[in-house]
Symmetry: C2
Subunit: 246 residues, 2 copies
């Protein structure tokens, strides 16, 4: 099975997705935050491309919350920002959250042609690996996996690539990868012993540090603490439940 | 000084180039071949975006040769392909070559707004490093360096990134880099002891191997054998001569 890593979902050369599982990664912070929200009892996360689209969607979803950031800062008038610490059980339990972030929600939208779209981050990585192995055993006609790193605009984002590399490394030496997949595995192995430091030195890490968000980085660089696979279904991100999938 | 590495020159988010030195890298094989051609006495290489543009340019350059590839194969009717071994002294000595390749010549063209455009590859890397240090000493108003990896379409190309990493590594620990610059340095350090094997395993490497071009890969992965810095001047690529630059 071929695993292709893409540095951003805004490439004009996206692969054919209709027979693929797409895994979207936005470590700092959209996918880490969505995993956390679902773990804390949030019913569903609805991705929106813009604050305007988020406001429109709320009209059809009474009782929902608005979450999101631009330039790493909470959007004015929104209930929640993009920090996983905003998504505590007492805030999001039982609620639907409409979320818009600079890169993450765009990557999720770009993936939506694929029959399956999952969301990965360091905090839920082991669950993603287990679910991929189960998917391979089910032999469900899946022809490959595309890993969409959200990136920053069209730029390569080291935290996302390291997370992709950890995933590929965990799948074992037999998987076939593209050049960026090979590079991400090499980078993960080189950074494995000092992941937090490497992420703090990245462009996005330094930006969050300058905003006093060190706690967010440390949380988002923590591996395998939440047993959740968020999946896109009918425009909403929900738990991947075994019973949903036969 | 900030050094930004770009995985491809086809990004819609190119940095501001007018105060930068751009270094274009296309290890397999355009920049390796151009360096070789100039070392073998070729007078100038004129980059063309398409075979049609190359044919047009020849009308104004009598006596010139046509070189280039599509899908790694020589273009029908052209004098030379894209293998460095095509550019022997007896073929290119004293001649101008009009060259079109799938990715390399496009990256060179995309860089042309910059006041200085140089071409790097493993074969001339040490000369590039020396020239950068000299440029820094001259304190010529240069605000930064952008390294354009030619890539493959919009895709990340591991051989190009490894070459960028070798360059950044050689410039020492003080240089400031973007995420892809940091990643390329990490990748180069991880692959340094087995560069040829890593390049052979890359997407582009495997493609050339399948065409029987192992000799080209081994040559293009050889470091520091040619003391040449090709520079773009008035649409032509020529030697960077010290006396040209005051």
């Amino acid at each position: 099975m071929l695993i292709e890593v893409l540095h951003s979902a805004s490439s004009p050369f996206l692969p054919y997705l209709e027979d693929k599982l797409v895994i979207v990664i936005d470590v700092l912070r959209a996918t880490s935050t969505i995993v956390t929200a679902l773990a804390n009892g949030c019913q569903a996360v609805v991705p929106a491309l813009s604050p305007e689209e988020a406001l429109e969607k709320r009209l059809t979803l009474p009782g929902s919350l608005l979450g999101g950031e631009r330039h790493a800062v909470r959007i004015e008038g929104f209930d929640l920002g993009n920090s996983p610490f905003d998504y505590a059980p007492e805030k999001v339990g039982g609620k639907t959250v409409i979320l818009t972030t600079t890169n993450g929600t765009r990557a999720i939208r770009a993936a939506s042609e694929a029959p399956q779209v999952w969301l990965a981050s360091f905090v839920n990585l082991q669950s993603i690996v287990h679910s991929i192995f189960r998917e391979m055993e089910r032999n469900s006609g899946l022809e490959g996996i595309a890993i969409f790193c959200a990136g920053t605009e069209d730029r390569f984002d080291l935290p996302d690539i390291l997370c992709a590399g950890m995933l590929i490394d965990a799948l074992g030496p037999e998987v076939e990868v593209n050049d960026l997949g090979e590079a991400s595995r090499m980078l993960y192995r080189a950074a494995e012993g000092h992941l937090i430091e490497t992420i703090c030195r990245s462009d996005h890490g330094r930006k969050l540090l300058s905003l006093g968000l060190e706690r967010d980085i440390i949380y988002c660089a923590t591996t395998n603490i939440l047993p959740i696979v968020p999946v896109l279904a009918d425009g909403e991100i929900v738990w991947l439940a075994d019973d949903m999938r036969g």
